[in-house]
Structures are given as C-alpha cells and as structure tokens.
C-alpha cells in the first residue's frame, strides 16, 4: 500500500487547490454565467444628483421601447410595502427612491426587458424631474446645526447624527493622562476605499408562479442569513426560498449586504412570472455598493519619558453615507473598532465613536477586515510611530517596550476583549532579523547625511476575528455560530457541507484537509459544498476571517463525532474492546498490535454493511459550533521605502511580513491570502480613493479614477511565520484572510513617515500619493 503518494492533504501540507482545476479551465460557474429559459434582464436608472427631491418620474418613453416588459419605480414598490428595506445595522434604506435621492448613484427606477442592451437604452429614456437640494459630503459639516437634513423621512431624526458608542473606562483613562509625562496626538483620516471584487454583484431571481418556489442565485457571502432576511423583509415563506451563491469572483465584504437590485429583481420575478437577471457594471459597483472606511480618527497616547504607554484616548467620527448600512454585529455600533489598543499593554483606554449621515453611498462594510479592525490597527500603529518620532526612540524598541508579553495571555484588554494567545516580541524580532534592521538603520543615517530620504516602517498588528461567541455577536439577531455536515459514503469518500461560503479563499481544499487530518480520508476524496441553502446546514457566512475559526472548527468537531462512531465500528470489526482501539491518520488499530488494523474506508463500508448490534446505520453527522471566544491573529510587517525629493515618488524597496495565524492548514493558501492582503494594503496606502466634490459627485467611479495596484508596481513580498496556536480552537487555527490588509497600510505609511519624520512631518493621510509627499517636503523646505 502506497502510504506516501499521492499526498493525503493532512494539516500542514501545501496541496494544490482543488477548485483551481475548474477555474483555470474557465469552467467556473459565476452569476453572470447563469442563464434560464425565459429570463429577462434588469437595468437600474440611478440618480445623477447627491441630494434632490423627486418631483415626478415619467416612465412612458421607456415603456414604449420594443422589448421592454416593465418599468419599476419606488411608487410601485410602495404599493407592495417594498420601497424601503431594513439594513444590517438596524436602519432603513430606500430600495427605489420615492421622496428624494440621497446620494449620487442611488437607485431610482428599474427597467426590465428581454435584452440587457434594450434595458439599458430604455433606462436612459426615463424622465425624472428633480429639485436639486444642497448636499453635504463631510461628516463634520453634516453634524453642524443648519446642515441639510438627509433623513427627513425618519420621524425622530432631527439632525444627521446616527450613533454614539463608547468603550473602555473614561475616568481611569483621564487619570492615566494626568500622570503621563507627555501626550502624543495624531489626527488622521482613513479615506473611503472600495473592496472592488473582480466580479460585481448580481442576482438571477427565479420565482415559479405555480409553486411559489423562489430560487435566488445571488452573489452572497452569507446565503443562509440572506435567506432569513429575505423571508423577514419580503414576507416570503422561508421554506420556499432557496439561495444559491455560485462561484464568487471575490467578495472582500462587498457581498455581505443585501442591495436594492436584489430586492427589485426578486419582486419583478414574482410579479412577472419570469426569471430576472440583474448584474452591476463596474461603475455601479463602485458608486453604490458597500464601500469601506471613511473614518476620521483622533488618537492620543499618554506616555512616560522612557517610552512606556500609560493610556489611550480615541475619538472617531465615521461617515456612513445616506443610510447606516454597515454590516456588523448588532451590539457594536462602530464594529470592533475598540480593538484599537492593538498589541500593547495599555492599562487604560477610552474610545468614543459617533456616526454621521452624508450624501454619499451607504455601506461601510468591513473590506477584508473583521468589522473595523483595519481602522483601529491603522490608528494605533500610526500613533506608536508618532510616539517614536516625538520621543526620538526607535520604533521597534518602543513596541518591544510596550507589547503585551507572552506570559500575560489570556489578556484582558482595557476595552473589553480577552486576547486568547500571542507572542508579539517573537514576531517583531523575526521581522527585524529578516529585513536586516540594524544595517538598514546605518544605511538610512548615511543617506540622511547626503540629503537622501529613506524610511523603515514597522507595524505590529493584532486582529480580532472569528465571531462569535453567539451571545455576544449576532447579525440582525442571528447568532454567529457556524456549521458543518459530513457524510461519509460506503466507499470511504465524503461530502462536507458548510454554512460558510468561499469567494476565492480555497475552502474546497482547506476544509477537506481538516477532514483528512481528523478522519484520515484523503483531501482529494472529500467534496466540499457551500452556497446552496437547500443543501447545506445553516451558517452566518464568510467574512471577518471567520470561516476557519468557526466553520473550520465545526468541520473538526463533526469529523471527531464521526471518528467516535467509527471507533466503535472498528472495535466491532477487529473484535476488540473500544477502549483498546487507537486511531492514527485514517487507521484504527488495536493498542499494542498495530498490524491488526482497519482503515477508515473499511470502517465506512462497514457502517453500511456490517454494524455492531443495535447501532444505527450510516456515517454522517452535523455540528453547529459556537466558538467560546474570538481568535487574535497578529504579526509584524516591516517596509523599506526610498523617496524621490524631486517628484515625491515613494518606491517600496522591500516588504517583510511575519504572520502568526496559529496552525496553518494549507501553508500555500495562507501565503496566497497574505500576498493578496499585502497587495490590497499597498493599494490602500498609496492609491485607492473614492472622493467627492462639494456637490457630492463621486470621483472614483471607474478603474481609471479608482486605482487598483497591478503586478507592475506591487512590491515583492518576503513572508515568514511564527505559530502560536489558538488555545480554544480545535486545531489551533486563527484565521488569516484579513491580517495583511489590516496590518500593512500602517507599515507602508510608517515607512514614509520614518523617512521624513526628522523634517517635522508627522502625518500624510492615505493614499500617500507623490504629490502629497512632495507638498509636505516643500512646506518644510526639503523638496528638490
């Protein structure tokens, strides 16, 4: 028996991704690949104005176009009580505008036609009479008295303020600041960016008029939660709703919310008795769907002369756009932003957050981030850099001085988290060693003497991912557990069905490997299924790096459940007592007699053919896993940059990334995740930006204006690891999908600040573009 070949795909093996076979052959099945008989196409007419009252809508010219089947307006939806829908943050959002439009790009009317081109042509013919109102695009302006009231349809809404939320101990923090030798401050803006998955959002809604069966093919990161929300919002019976989230071309948080287009297409299919397809074009995706960040942050660090941190005080104002539609656990109004104490032993901290409505697109999704951890990590890592500059300390040294120490875990943070595990000094020291920190500092000193600008940026991030526990974390009331169902067939092959949903993360491989490890069935024999709510157990979906921490744990637990039963069957087959049976990677044997053994395949066959007396047939199970705590991935990133004083261009010379995500299931996939995140972080740090002019016109509505990095400018990454297993996760994994997006922007920006800090430049807001760098240098008389 060939034991070593082919690879079984146990934990720690970099086997090739099972799903790539179909992707690289062009045989994936994405939303836009779906075509049903009699299918109609929908196109959305969007508002050209950021704030305007709708006086009238004339749909007649559009209805007259041959091929047009229907034109849907807000007035029509209102008759079915569907003009407004709830958001994931407990607010309401217009499906199609009835009274006014509140941001440029808002959905105003939909045309349904027998051809997508006809639908688009006709949508342009709809005549909307607008009375343009004054727009407000800055949250500080929005909160001033006299600012235009955006949500005038809400009874109790008298201003543009959305929420106020605090964490930490205010009094203790005040006391810490009083004791401190020095207060280091940083005011910084994390600009609006966009997840920009390659595949935009869409739906094919197919409601059978005879049976009432609603099959909704949707670009959904959370198909089960979406099914329940559809049932609650549209009043459809949940047993008749089947959501199928096919292959997804990226998500990054953009496919968590429910968008108006999904709702209108579903309503249209119900009313017309035909399948209706709607898929966004690129501009629609950029201007209307879940953006990210747009956080205005003020941080203050109380420090002693020796560099020891005493306390942290943070004020944050989030710009949520026209509807408060953040996707986040319902108890936390600014997501998990209060993880802002980061990797540091901060005895006291206080965080105050507020949100404001503006005439901008709604959303505020966590773009490759566990509910606002990115913003928090950016602020604290930038603030620590400021402290290093002001105290003239080395940024690595000041971190080492203030890290939570390995022996302090589990560590209770000042804002209420219990960090499960970590070894921050080890990751930082490894990163410094790999980049050759000492030598680089010498080079920098020499260059500085010659007037050349070179910087070394450090960021030591800590994330909080893998929600729940369910009593603490819920989405719209749904507790954040997740599930796995495992069926082992008589021939020893298995199907694993999950409540999470891959958007490219490699679930079909990673989760098969967990089964391989726990049950010994080779990963190649485990078929992983996700995304079809009729065929998978209930789960909350994939975002916030929760698939491996929660869905992965459920997979391990259900595998163990089956292993327990398998052991009983093995004992029966080996005619031994169950207590004497041992298991090792797919082999059951009698203690002390390893030659007397049965494979998992033997046992699986027996589960259907030769059972112990009284045992139920089959080898199947399902587990719902509610994690006892979050997991806390961490790492240190170090970046080296050179700056051209004539043009302000920043060249990233090197980027070393040390990540600790606990046990790595498939190291190659983990590396891929890190590369992707470091690239997105690079884009955010240097080029990605959605901005608005004073009238609320969106600048960044296509890839000419919204810049995504390509392989040409993206730096080469040098990646390394430490492994600190999560003590509460069944296999010690922590989740890695978002670490690099969370941790890297601060490292890139800190490198720039490290190059120019000695000139008195303490902040350049992202994106750190050449012109901003040159202007900062110019102001200090240091530009060429």
């Amino acid at each position: 028996m060939a034991i070593d070949t082919p690879p079984k795909g146990f934990i720690g093996e970099s086997i090739k991704r099972k799903e790539d076979d179909r992707f690289i052959r062009g045989k994936g099945n994405y939303l836009d690949d779906i075509s049903l008989p009699g299918m109609l196409h929908m196109s959305i007419l969007r508002s050209p104005f950021a704030h305007a009252r709708i006086r009238s809508i004339n749909t007649k010219p559009a209805e007259a176009v041959p091929g047009v089947v229907a034109v849907v307006t807000g007035a029509l939806l209102e008759q079915h009580k569907l003009a407004w829908m709830p958001t994931l943050s407990g607010d309401t959002q217009a499906v199609l505008a009835t009274d006014k439009v509140r941001y440029q790009g808002q959905e105003v009317a939909c045309v349904i036609a027998n051809d997508p081109y006809v639908a688009r042509d006709a949508a342009q013919l709809i005549d909307v009479d607008y009375e343009v109102l004054k727009a407000v695009v800055d949250p500080y302006q929005a909160l001033k008295p006299g600012a235009p009231l955006i949500r005038d349809e809400k009874k109790d809404q008298k201003d543009n303020h959305i929420y106020h939320w605090e964490a930490g101990d205010k009094a203790a923090t005040e006391a810490a600041f009083k004791k401190a030798d020095k207060v280091v401050s940083l005011e910084t803006f994390y600009p609006r960016c966009h997840p920009s998955p390659l595949e935009t959002c869409g739906i094919v809604a197919d409601i059978n008029p005879a049976t009432g069966q609603a099959t909704l093919y949707m670009t959904s990161q959370a198909p089960h939660a979406h099914r329940t929300l559809f049932a609650l919002v549209a009043g459809l019976p949940e047993e008749k709703i089947r959501i199928i989230s096919p292959d997804l071309g990226g998500g990054f948080g953009n496919k968590v919310p429910i968008y108006p287009g999904y709702v209108v297409a579903t309503a249209a299919s119900l009313l017309l008795g035909h399948p209706v397809k709607w898929i966004e074009d690129r501009s629609e995706n950029l201007i209307s769907t879940g953006f990210a960040r747009d956080f205005h942050m003020q941080g203050e660090l109380a420090v002693n002369k020796d560099g020891k941190f005493l306390g942290l005080r943070v004020k944050m104002l989030s710009d949520n756009g026209a509807f408060y539609a953040d996707a986040q656990p319902s108890k936390f109004r600014a997501g998990l932003f209060h993880i802002v104490t980061g990797s540091y032993d901060l005895p006291a901290a206080h965080v105050e957050t507020d949100g404001a409505y503006t005439n901008k697109a709604p959303g505020g999704v966590a773009f490759r981030c566990s509910f606002r951890v990115t913003e928090a990590s950016y602020l604290i890592e930038r603030l620590v850099e400021s402290a290093a500059v002001e105290l003239k300390m080395d940024p690595a040294e000041i971190r080492l001085k203030n890290f939570i120490q390995p022996e302090q875990f589990p560590y209770k943070s000042a804002t209420g988290f219990e960090y499960d595990s970590g070894d921050y000094p080890r990751a930082l020291k490894l990163a410094l060693e790999k980049i050759g920190y000492e030598q680089l500092r010498k080079e920098q000193a020499e260059k500085r003497k010659r007037g050349e600008l070179m910087g070394i940026g450090v960021a030591s991030f800590t994330e909080v991912v893998g929600a729940g526990h369910g009593t603490e974390y819920d989405i719209a009331g749904l507790r954040m557990f997740d599930s796995a169902e495992l069926r082992v067939h008589p021939t020893g092959k298995a199907i694993l069905k999950l409540g999470v949903k891959s958007q490219g993360q490699g679930h079909e491989t990673t989760f098969a490997q967990i089964v391989a490890e726990e049950l010994g069935i080779p990963a190649s024999d485990v078929e992983v299924q996700e995304g079809d709510t009729d065929n998978t157990p209930y789960g909350l979906g994939t975002y916030a790096s929760r698939s491996t921490p929660v869905g992965g744990a459920a997979t391990a637990m259900v595998s163990r459940k089956l292993r327990d039963k398998a052991k009983k069957i093995a004992a029966h087959l080996l005619e031994a007592s169950e207590a004497d049976i041992e298991f090792d990677h797919g082999k059951f044997f009698v203690k002390g007699a390893p030659s007397k053994s049965k494979t998992i395949q033997d046992v699986a066959f027996a589960a259907y053919t030769n059972l112990p007396e009284g045992m139920e047939a089959g080898l199947e199970g399902v587990t719902y896993y509610d994690p006892p705590n979050m997991t806390f991935p961490f790492g240190t990133y170090v970046v080296v940059v050179d700056i051209d004083r004539g043009t302000g261009q920043v060249k990233v010379r090197r980027m070393v990334a040390v990540d600790d995500c606990g046990v790595r299931i498939n190291p190659m996939i983990v590396e891929g995740q890190i590369h992707g995140g470091l690239t997105e972080g690079f884009g955010i740090a240097f080029m990605e930006l959605i901005t608005f002019d004073e009238q609320g016109n969106c600048i960044g509505s296509n890839f000419t204006d919204y810049l995504l990095p390509t392989s040409w400018e993206t730096p080469r990454f040098e990646t390394f690891e430490t492994v600190t297993p999560s003590p509460h996760h069944p296999i010690g994994a922590k989740g890695v999908g978002e670490s690099a997006t969370v941790g890297s922007p601060a490292a890139y920006v800190n490198a720039v600040i490290d190059a120019v800090g000695h000139l008195g430049i303490t902040n350049i807001d992202m994106p750190v573009s050449s012109d901003k760098v040159w202007t900062a240098l110019q102001e200090k008389g240091a530009a060429e």
Binding site: P116, Y117, R120, D121, Q124, D281, R282, S283, G646, T647, G648, Q649, M687, L689, T691, I699, N702, T704, D705, L707, L708, P709, T710, W712, E713, S769, S770, D771, W774, T775, Q778, A783, E784
Partner: protein, 290 residues
C-alpha cells in the same frame, strides 16, 4: 458597461474605408486599436452611429526607415514600437516612451496613430512627436495632405483631422549624427494617464546643441512644445546651468491644472525636474551613440 447600438464595417482596402468615412462623415468613427474608443462607447460618453474598422486593411502596419524618414503606419501597435530594435537602436525617445504607454493589455492592441488622432492631452505620443518634429499624413477620399505635429493638435481631443480623413502615416526625420532622446513619465500606477510626461530630443552638433525638442504631456489643454526652452538650448554647451535654465523655461511653458494627481505647483515642478533629468539622459545617449 453596455454601449449604445452602432453599425460596423470592416473594409479590406483603404479606398473602401475612406469612402465609408466620407459617407458617414457626420456620425462615423475610425476603429483601429479601440483602446480609447471602446471605453468611451461602453461608458456611453461617445455613441457614433457607424464604426469603420481599419484592422483588415493591408500595409498599414509599416515601421521602417524610408526616404530619409522613419515611417510609422496607422496600424503599428504600441507593442510593436516597444519591441522594435530599429527604435531601440536609433530612436531613443520613441523606444523609451513605448513601454510607458498605458499597460501591456492596451499596448497589445492600441496604435500610435490612433492615440495621436484621439489627441488626449495626457497621451504620451503627442509629446514624443512634437519633440522629434514629426509630420502626419492625412488621407481622405479626395487626396492626402501632410501636417506638422506642432500644427496638428488644436486643443483637448481636437486636431486638424477631418471626420472623413484617416491618419495613415507618421513621418519622423531619420536620425543622423549624434542624437539622443528620453521620455520621462510620472504616473500613479501602470496604466494610469500621465500626471506629467516630458519628451526630449537632442541633436548635437560639434559638441554643442544643434536642435533640441522638448514637449510636455498632461500639463495643458494639449501636448505642449516648450519652444522657449528649445530655443535657449540651441548652440549651447550642455552644462548644469544651461540644463537648469531649460528646466525652468519648460516649467514656465506648462499650463497645468490642479486635480487628484496634484497641484499646479507640483506638476510644474515635475516638469522642471523631468526636463533636467531628461536632458542629462538624452545628452548621455547622444554622446554614447545610444
């Protein structure tokens, strides 16, 4: 991104193409590489009723030296220019500009002549052609005419090209003697339009500057020929002082506008810096024969 409806023809000869254009002078458009036109159609910023695809027409892809000129046909792709050993060996400013145009996907299909006819003030080739004093052959059904690059551009996206004409050929004076060129471009990422671009062409004469060509990208309503800077260099020995002065004159010639790519002052400064650096690089090349 769905364009409005249009008619399409793909003629096999230049005469047929010119006849079609003549017929559809009001609402026709030439489709060559399509790298500007197709995005405009998809964004519905342009909706011509008739597209004349010239890609099937033979002999428009000529790239050679002929009768004292470097001749570039209407269908020469950026990629062809990028990989041409003729340009690499003898026309440094073209060779250096080519790989900086847009991104590899655009360069595979897009054409030099199409880019010039489109006349985006952020286009790189316009500056290159101004620096090397190129001329363009414009053909219509009724005949052909030749115009100088410096007369061709008349504003943003506007040129002397008539709706019934095709820019069939670019002609550049063939290299003679010690000549050097350079193209410097600042962009926010690969594939972005230039924030600033500077094209330099130097013809040395007995150790001194014979003629200098300097032209600027993305800092005005059209590509700008920095004539004062060019004139100041003529007959000079290239030293730091002369180079600095030329840089300042080029910066003065720029008419930048503030936008997301930077302030007016910033862009002007980059023009100055790039002119200085470009002159040094071009001079090195002229001396080294490269």
């Amino acid at each position: 991104m769905l364009p409005a409806a249009f008619e399409y023809a793909s003629p096999g000869t230049l005469d047929e193409a010119l006849a079609l254009l003549d017929q559809h002078a009001d609402d026709g458009k030439v489709l060559a590489g399509g790298q500007s036109l197709i995005p405009l159609l998809k964004l519905r910023l342009a909706s011509p009723a008739f597209l004349v695809d010239i890609n099937r027409i033979p002999d428009l892809d000529v790239l050679e030296e002929r009768d004292g000129a470097l001749v570039i046909g209407a269908l020469v792709r950026h990629k062809t220019a990028e990989r041409s050993s003729l340009l690499a060996n003898r026309y440094a400013v073209l060779a250096e500009a080519a790989p900086q145009v847009a991104d590899p996907l655009v360069r595979n299909r897009g054409t030099l002549a199409g880019s010039l006819a489109h006349a985006d003030p952020s286009g790189d080739w316009g500056s290159v052609m101004l620096a090397v004093d190129a001329e363009f052959v414009l053909r219509s059904r009724s005949g052909s005419r030749t115009v100088k690059a410096r007369d061709f551009f008349s504003g943003p996206f506007s040129t002397l090209l008539q709706p019934n004409e095709i820019l069939t050929e670019i002609r550049i004076p063939a290299r003679r003697g010690p000549t050097g060129g350079a193209y410097l471009k600042l962009e926010r990422k690969v594939g972005d339009f230039a924030t600033v671009g500077v094209a330099i062409q130097l013809q040395m004469d007995d150790g001194k500057v014979g003629t200098a060509g300097i032209a600027l990208t993305a800092v005005g309503p059209q590509n700008i020929k920095a004539t004062e800077a060019e004139a100041a260099l003529k007959g000079q020995t290239l030293n730091d002082k002369v180079i600095k002065e030329a840089g300042q004159l080029a910066a003065k010639a720029a008419e930048p506008r503030a936008d997301l790519r930077g302030s007016e002052a910033y862009k002007r400064n980059v023009v100055r810096i790039f002119t200085e650096r470009g002159l040094k690089r071009a001079y090195e090349r002229a001396r080294g024969g490269g």
